[in-house]
């Protein structure tokens, strides 16, 4: 127990190395496949500047004569230089997907990090101080939970658009999206941490720390955080899937990332505009990538939830 509570990472590693979890991982081929798929997609996405055959969003490399080429495997008109076809601007769909996935992942990971830091801090504050502060934070959480995350993110985005000019908005769009998604996901972290703090607060070691003059908040941070690493990790994994979906949805709705820096959602929106003419590959391939990524992450999250705590739902 002492080893497990020393720091979050060592506690987590301790639990991972625990035979039951490792056994449950190995005995679920779905989970292993999901882990491999997640790892592969992340690796390819982050290596896209090296791996991608084209640099699709450098206008200098584009040629309209390459436009709307179908994928090689389904049509003799295909060109091996563009294995998954091109869009109406002549951009390579495969390279767009690789760069787009990277951007989607960056935004989602950053958003989850924002939500995590915000939620854990507010949860600690709420649980530790209690009283009016706790009441305010938790009521805000209640009200926010009334609204789906996508709506909260849309509202935040709309407000930011009201406060700054359109041109500035495109420059900071990525931060707006990260902030909007992050702000809409903090509640579950805060509730988990708060609950744990409430339990720990009355334990004797905290009282003892207070008696010998140690700052109890510090003691609690060091004892509470390791306790919640499991649940927080589960929430974060499941949130990552949701964050990827939310980012894609925002971008699809045209309020996320601008078309000059397309994420998977933006690519799907651009493809959707020409979908009626039957050029399905521009939409379908980014869509399949998005679905595969979210599915793999969700499978991991589901497994992690069951493995760390079968009662947690």
């Amino acid at each position: 127990m002492a080893a497990a509570s020393r720091s979050g990472l060592s506690g987590w590693l301790y639990r991972v190395s625990d035979s039951d979890i490792w056994w449950s991982f190995k005995s679920s081929p779905m989970t292993v496949a999901a882990a491999v798929a997640t790892f592969l997609i992340i690796a390819v996405a982050f290596l896209s500047p090296v791996l991608a055959p084209h640099t699709p969003f450098d206008p200098a490399t584009l040629s309209l004569s390459d436009g709307l080429k179908p994928p090689v495997l389904v049509s003799p008109d295909g060109d091996w230089a563009f294995p998954l076809g091109t869009d109406d601007q002549g951009r390579d769909v495969l390279s767009s997907i690789m760069y787009g996935t990277r951007l989607s992942l960056i935004v989602s990971l950053a958003a989850v990090a924002v939500a995590m830091v915000l939620g854990i801090s507010l949860g600690l504050i709420s649980g530790y101080f209690g009283g009016a502060i706790d009441a305010v934070i938790m009521r805000v959480a209640d009200v926010q939970l009334t609204f789906p995350a996508i709506l909260v993110a849309l509202l935040i985005d709309g407000v930011v658009r009201g406060l700054i000019s359109v041109k500035r908005h495109d420059e900071i769009a990525i931060f707006v999206v990260v902030g909007a998604i992050g702000l809409s996901f903090w509640v579950s972290y805060a509730r988990t941490v708060r609950g744990s703090v409430m339990v720990e607060k009355n334990k004797e070691y905290v009282q003892a720390a207070r008696v010998i003059g140690l700052p109890p908040l510090l003691i609690m941070v060091r004892h509470v955080l390791p306790n919640v690493t499991g649940p927080v990790l589960v929430i974060a994994t499941l949130n990552l899937g949701l964050a990827i979906i939310t980012e894609a949805t925002l971008s699809f709705l045209g309020v996320g990332l601008p078309s000059t820096e397309p994420s998977l959602g933006t690519l799907i929106r651009l493809g959707n505009e020409v979908l009626q003419s039957g050029d399905w590959w521009i939409t379908v391939f980014p869509g399949v990538t998005l679905a595969a990524l979210v599915l793999a992450v969700n499978l991991l999250g589901d497994w992690l939830r069951d493995a760390l705590n079968p009662k947690l739902r």
């Binding site: 009334t146 609204f147 996508i150 509202l155």
Partner: protein
């Protein structure tokens, strides 16, 4: 019971007031109501006069009170984008969204709950495993992607169903309905499935896990020991106990359909309030955003009240305690 309902109404009003505060802050401090009403060439003096006349120099609580009082009468000011009254804009589009959400809710409940019951009762059967796997894919597919795929298959490729708009509609009083024409009904199918599919998988998985949990309880084991038939146990005892937690979540999920309609309406160019909201976000049309926020808040409060009333119908523990702790809630 009455005391319980009253307390819930009071709590709901607090939530609604908080939403109102957010909407007011948006309306008053993010947007500038004066800018929306005047032209480029209005002088500073005229603006100040208008400001005074609109009460924008009053103390904030007074302004908030006026805002809420106006909102209650459906007066949300003018849209920045179209300069039309926001109340009318929204009212015109409410029927489209409500009909779409209603169809999606029917789809979710009448398909999702039976599927959840089935997979919960026979978790080891191959078809349950298949449904469970498909449901995970359903959860992982963003709504807009489902819509696009449905359009691609059923509209672009097969030409069976329309890919956008409401089709032919009929006006009943001020309410414009899809339900009275064949083309209107056909136009509803794809959007309703798209809107419902995500919630359907959620509800199915929820019912399944609750069902599995209930089937493990002592009273189900005791019901078996009493020799009751499987039918009586599964549908009499297990399903009813499953309902208690499912009602909470299902209520909230169905409530959120109206908010999720934002995405579906965009994909299918469905002229509802969701589409209006997206346009208002893109143009930062603050009055429309504020009004939409209040509308959604009101809708959620109503759904929550209905959920509370359903609790009374299902759970005798609540009826006799005159409203104590909520049992089985999350």
């Amino acid at each position: 019971m009455l005391a319980f309902i009253l307390r819930r109404i009071l709590q709901s009003s607090a939530v609604l007031l908080a939403v109102g505060l957010v909407a007011f802050s948006l309306f008053r401090y993010v947007g500038d109501p004066v800018n929306a009403m005047v032209g480029q060439d209005t002088t500073m003096e005229e603006r100040d006069a208008l400001r005074e006349k609109l009460g924008l120099n009053d103390p904030a609580p007074v302004q908030f009170f006026h805002f809420i009082a106006n909102a209650a009468r459906g007066n949300f000011g003018l849209s920045y984008r179209t300069s039309e009254p926001v109340g009318r804009l929204i009212l015109e589009r409410v029927p489209a969204t409500l009909e779409l959400s209603f169809c999606a809710a029917v789809f979710v409940l009448f398909v999702g709950v039976p599927m959840g019951v089935y997979t919960g009762l026979y978790p080891r059967h191959w078809s349950s495993r298949l449904l469970q796997a498909v449901s995970l894919i359903g959860i992982s597919l963003p709504t807009f992607l489902i819509g696009i795929l449905l359009i691609l298959v059923f509209a672009v490729t097969l030409h069976w169903l329309p890919s956008f708009g409401r089709g032919d509609t009929v006006k009943v009083g001020w309410w414009v309905t899809n339900f009275l024409t064949v083309s209107g009904l056909k136009a509803l199918i794809l959007p309703a499935i798209t809107l419902g599919l995500f919630q359907l998988t959620l509800i199915m998985r929820l019912v399944r896990s609750e069902m599995l949990e209930v089937m493990r309880t002592e009273y189900i084991k005791f019901a078996r020991a009493r020799g009751l038939t499987n039918r009586a146990i599964n549908f009499g005892h297990a399903l009813k106990n499953t309902l208690v937690p499912v009602i909470t979540v299902a209520g909230l999920q169905l409530g959120s359909l109206i908010a999720f309609a934002v995405v579906t309406e965009t994909v299918f160019a469905w002229p509802g309030v969701g589409q209006l909201f997206i346009q208002s976000v893109q143009f930062s049309d603050i009055p429309v955003m504020a009004a939409y926020l209040l509308l959604i808040g009101l809708f959620f409060v109503l759904v929550n009240l209905i959920v509370d009333l359903l609790y009374f119908a299902v759970d005798p523990r609540l009826r006799s305690q005159g409203g104590g702790a909520r049992v089985g809630g999350h």
